[in-house]
């Protein structure tokens, strides 16, 4: 359900009901921690992070507890926004402003040790005033339990290579997704549209080239030799409308090696944003 707040015209709230398996040790540790972190983040009321207004505990059985989370809701997500943008597309200065907000929200999450893990246009909300809000973060463990129960297809298009290779993951995975979204804002269609993990990796390597052996993560299922060598493509072929500074930032988001990928904090100081008022 979603509702307009009749006492606060512009505000919308939405309910997200999650089912939690209560074991013989009661509420799962991951549920308590994930909700606790979201509630702590709530204290800061960051403008680029969706608000969690309440957690309502209801209807328990011995095996299962249903929680209803009351979130701030914004009607439009970035997917809809890009679809609705009239030709020739979203103005470059608007894209720059949105990217800056997106990175501010992400830097806030990362400085509170929250990795989003599933950043994509569907969970980047855009208010009627052009304000960006990150949604659906920090509940990865709760959702993974939900995922197991539902047939929600999780899109791979924004997944970082280290996640597709099932290597370790940390804050850099979110910056890879930001790179994919950055390109999509200009192209108005996804950058890498893979149909499976391996196909997704193939699409990525078609653009950034197959990484060197020393960049390939250790102890992963897929060896680097599984991919036919191919040189990187000129990035301007993929985002012809992006200026030089934007392209240099994009390449830093799409760095294969997570330790060399730019952080949200550093990206906010990139020259691409210098002329942002």
């Amino acid at each position: 359900y979603k509702a307009r707040d009749l006492n606060n015209g512009g505000r919308f709230v939405a309910l997200k009901r999650v089912r939690v398996q209560t074991e013989e040790e009661g509420m799962p540790l991951s549920t308590i921690r994930e909700v606790a972190v979201l509630r702590q983040l709530e204290s800061f009321e960051h403008p680029n992070v969706v608000r969690l207004f309440d957690v309502c505990t209801v209807s328990r059985t011995d095996r299962e507890t249903k929680l209803t989370l009351v979130f701030e809701h914004v009607d439009q997500d970035l997917t809809t926004y890009l679809e609705k943008a009239p030709d020739p597309g979203v103005p470059p200065e608007t894209i720059k402003d949105m990217m800056y907000q997106l990175l501010q929200g992400l830097d806030f999450l990362h400085s509170h040790r929250v990795v989003h893990r599933d950043l994509k246009p569907q969970n980047i909300l855009v208010t009627s005033g052009g304000q960006i809000k990150l949604a659906d973060f920090g509940l990865a463990r709760i959702y993974s339990f939900q995922m197991a129960l539902t047939s929600v297809v999780v899109t791979l298009w924004y997944r970082a290579p280290e996640v597709l290779l099932q290597s370790s993951y940390a804050t850099p995975v979110d910056l890879w997704s930001v790179g994919c979204i950055f390109a999509e804002m200009f192209r108005r269609r996804p950058l890498f549209q893979g149909k499976s993990d391996v196909d997704q990796l193939g699409k990525i390597f078609d653009v950034v080239g197959v990484p060197s052996l020393e960049d390939w993560p250790q102890n992963v299922g897929l060896p680097q030799t599984a991919f036919a060598p191919r040189p990187p493509k000129p990035i301007e072929d993929l985002v012809p409308d992006m200026d030089e500074l934007g392209r240099s930032l994009l390449l830093q988001f799409l760095s294969f090696n997570p330790s060399r990928r730019i952080s949200a904090y550093a990206a906010l100081s990139h020259p691409y944003f210098l002329d942002l008022d």
Binding site: Y1, K2, A3, R4, D5, L6, N7, V13, L15, R17, D54, C56, T57, V58, S59, T68, V70
Partner: protein, 48 residues
Amino acid sequence: LFGPVNHEELKKDLKGRLHEMEEAASAKWNFDFSSHKPLPNGRYNWKT
């Protein structure tokens, strides 16, 4: 630590506290969370 625990009373208290919380949440959001249905005439105009 403070004398024998009255388990019957505990059970009654528990029911009371849980009911209290559900009531407070329903009143705050004019939504019946246990049946997952909106309640009429509140501050929030719910839609599916």
